[in-house]
């Protein structure tokens, strides 16, 4: 038993291939599935996906009450806890549930893309200084505390107002809000839905990056695929960009912890039977469901304020860069989106608009042109979808499509998707200098420890080109631009 538990059990789920990029886990593959599972992958990617138990997690997620159409997995899918990472599930508001495990602990972990007015040739001699300055100016690492120490009243304002609090406090421009999903604030957070423990964990962490896979990259636009969309998003070839990846830090972790306990009790109360306690849930309209959504909105707002405060720090660094005359207005937000969140959204179901609690865990929104969920400035074109890759290769800007709205509740992949475990990555990195290898590829890095670099080495992730290629060729996204990294800071 001792060793059996530790073994990796390769997924034995039955799969039916629907076309080149679509696979189905038939309803009935495990008891209680209310809908089938759909996985977007090519044959090679599917071989990789089968190496862990993520397909079983897709099937288990399909047992949630109110599940509609399918339990969906994007090509960056990998093993999570409860939901797989890269999972999307829409549960009807009128008869379905909300599951904190469908968001995860890092609520509103997400990315923000910033563009500058400088081109790569203007900044070539400054990248090293830029990375060093960012690393010294922006708190990174485990449990890192920021220079912003908020009192409890201010923290309450952050969870209620999100990025708006940061703008009012002088950490950015109103234009940043226009280019942030939901304007950087989900209304409806009631302070009393968030525990003292959660506030205590968040009090020193606003404006901090954290550790693990969180990062800030300096990049440049290497290639434009769709000139009209790129111009609409303000992107042009060789432009310097920044990509921020972080979330709600300890405050969000604690909210998920707190509500997993609450939802565990709800399984008995509402007679819900599930194959995994980590999927614990409550009816959307129940007191517990509404309380979770309120607290989750607070964490989401904290995360947006966090990325806004980090944006402000990047602008400060930009102005301090020796030998480079920069002003804060040079740096503008392209878009900021969440990839761990539940959104209440209207979607077409058999010709009728129905309200759903759309769970995206390691997945983002991807609405097409005309959607009411896109900021006005982009509504004619479609929603920017930002997909970070690993430290060495590339990131992509995509755009949502009608097919994504029709098939997958307007969702997209959120990144490259992890492929190697931490131990496997450490083993692969033994005897190598990951920083040296990155430098040889022209990428400067500053990180708290060698361990983080080894765990986050490029080979630990699926090739981003393959993941994005599946999204594009299956019609779920339009390619807009490829961004190449020049420098990275990590916790």
């Amino acid at each position: 038993m001792f060793s059996l538990m530790s073994d990796t059990i390769k997924s034995m789920m039955k799969l039916k291939r629907l076309d080149e990029f679509r696979w189905e886990i038939p309803q009935g593959s495990i008891p209680g599935m209310r809908v089938p599972g759909w996985v977007f992958a090519d044959e090679e990617m599917m071989r990789s996906i089968r190496q862990d138990e993520s397909l079983r997690q897709v099937a288990q997620t399909a047992t949630l009450p109110g599940a509609t159409r399918a339990s969906i997995a994007m090509p960056d899918i990998h093993f999570g806890y409860g939901f797989p990472i890269g999972g999307v599930l829409a549960s009807r508001v009128d008869s379905g549930v909300v599951s904190p495990g469908g968001v995860g602990f890092d609520i509103n972990c997400g990315v923000r893309l910033l563009k500058t007015t400088s081109h790569v040739d203007d900044l070539a001699d400054h990248i090293s200084d830029l990375v060093k300055l960012m690393f010294s100016h922006i708190p990174t690492g485990v449990g890192s505390a920021g220079s912003l120490r908020l009192n409890r009243k201010q923290l309450h304002q952050v969870v209620v107002n999100g990025s708006r609090w940061a703008i009012d406090a002088g950490f950015g421009f109103h234009e940043d809000l226009d280019r942030t999903e939901d304007g950087g604030c989900l209304p409806g957070c009631q302070i009393d839905s968030i525990s003292d423990h959660a506030f205590e964990r968040g009090v020193e962490q606003l404006g901090t990056l954290g550790s693990g896979n969180h990062f800030i990259e300096v990049q440049f636009v290497e290639e434009i695929f769709e000139p009209v969309l790129a111009a609409a998003f303000g992107l042009e070839k060789n432009l310097i960009t920044f990509l921020i990846h972080t979330g709600s830090r300890g405050l969000g972790h604690q909210i998920c912890t707190d509500y997993l306990r609450v939802m565990g009790d709800c399984l008995r109360k509402y007679a819900i039977s599930l194959p995994d306690r980590q999927l614990a849930c409550a009816p959307v309209e129940s007191k517990e469901g509404q309380s979770y959504l309120s607290a989750m909105r607070g964490a989401a707002n904290f995360a947006w304020a966090n990325r806004q405060c980090i944006t402000h720090r990047i602008r400060e660094v930009w102005m301090k860069l020796p030998g480079h005359k920069g002003c804060p207005e040079d740096i503008q937000t392209v878009y900021d989106l969440a990839h761990n969140i539940i959104k209440i959204e209207d979607h077409d179901l058999n010709g009728h608009m129905v309200s759903f609690a759309v769970h995206r865990k390691g997945a983002t929104r991807a609405f097409c042109a005309g959607s009411k969920y896109i900021p006005e400035s982009y509504r004619l074109y479609g929603q920017p979808v930002i997909v970070p890759g690993d430290m060495a290769r590339a990131s992509y800007v995509l755009c949502g499509t009608k097919a994504a709205e029709r098939e997958v509740f307007a969702s997209s992949c959120h990144g490259a998707g992890r492929m190697l475990s931490r131990k496997a990555a450490m083993k692969a990195a033994r005897g190598r200098s990951i920083a040296g290898e990155l430098l040889a590829r022209g990428i400067r890095i500053a990180a708290k420890g060698k361990e983080t670099l080894a765990e986050e080495m490029p080979e630990a992730y699926k090739p981003i080109e393959q993941v994005v290629g599946i999204m594009i060729r299956s019609g779920l996204a339009i390619p807009v631009a490829r961004l190449r990294p020049l420098g990275v800071i990590k916790g």
Binding site: M1, F2, M5, S6, T8, D52, S54, H78, F79, G80, Y81, G82, I85, G104, F105, D106, G141, V142, G143, S144, A145, H197, E200, R201, S211, G212, G250, H253, Q254, C256, T257, L260, R261, G264, D265, D276, R277, Q278, A280, R418, M419, L420, S421, R422, K423, A424, K448, G449, E451, T452, E455, G491
Partner: protein, 142 residues
């Protein structure tokens, strides 16, 4: 008196996260060993001397809930007090826990083995008895 654990443990990893398998002779020792093993994932504390004492009191609805609550309370204390917990004395009465903990003050950022554990999860959680020994399997979000 808080003590070093007397149970055995091994670490395992999944694609993105890590967990532990623990074997112990009593339920109290199982809780103590699991807590020790969780911090061992984050920091090598073997050369560090405890300088802080903490007390934890919890009550839950089941043994599984109590175990997860225990680990998550220690994560909370570690993050907010900037400590690594290294020695434990757990007393259980039904699903009520009282624990004395010795901890080491740490500089944020020094718990750098796998970074900070965000939470203990219920995914695949198992507490079992076999041949008068207790077995535990728990996965952490890292």
């Amino acid at each position: 008196m808080p003590r070093l654990p007397n149970g055995r443990y091994t670490q395992f990893d999944t694609t993105a996260d890590m967990g532990i398998d623990v074997v112990s002779d009593t339920i109290e020792h199982l809780f103590e060993t699991t807590a020790y093993a969780m911090f061992d994932l984050m920091i090598d504390s073997s050369a560090l001397n405890p300088d802080t004492h903490l007390e934890v009191n919890l009550e839950s609805r089941s043994l599984e809930d109590l175990l997860i609550d225990w680990l998550n309370e220690l994560i909370f204390l570690s993050e907010t007090r900037c400590v690594a917990c290294v020695r434990f004395q757990v007393d259980l009465n039904g699903f009520r826990l009282r624990a004395l903990v010795e901890a080491v003050s740490v500089i944020p950022g020094s718990m750098n083995r796998i970074g900070m554990i965000k939470a203990a999860t219920y995914h695949g959680l198992e507490i079992a008895i076999s041949d008068n020994m207790l077995f535990l399997h728990v996965l952490f979000d890292v």
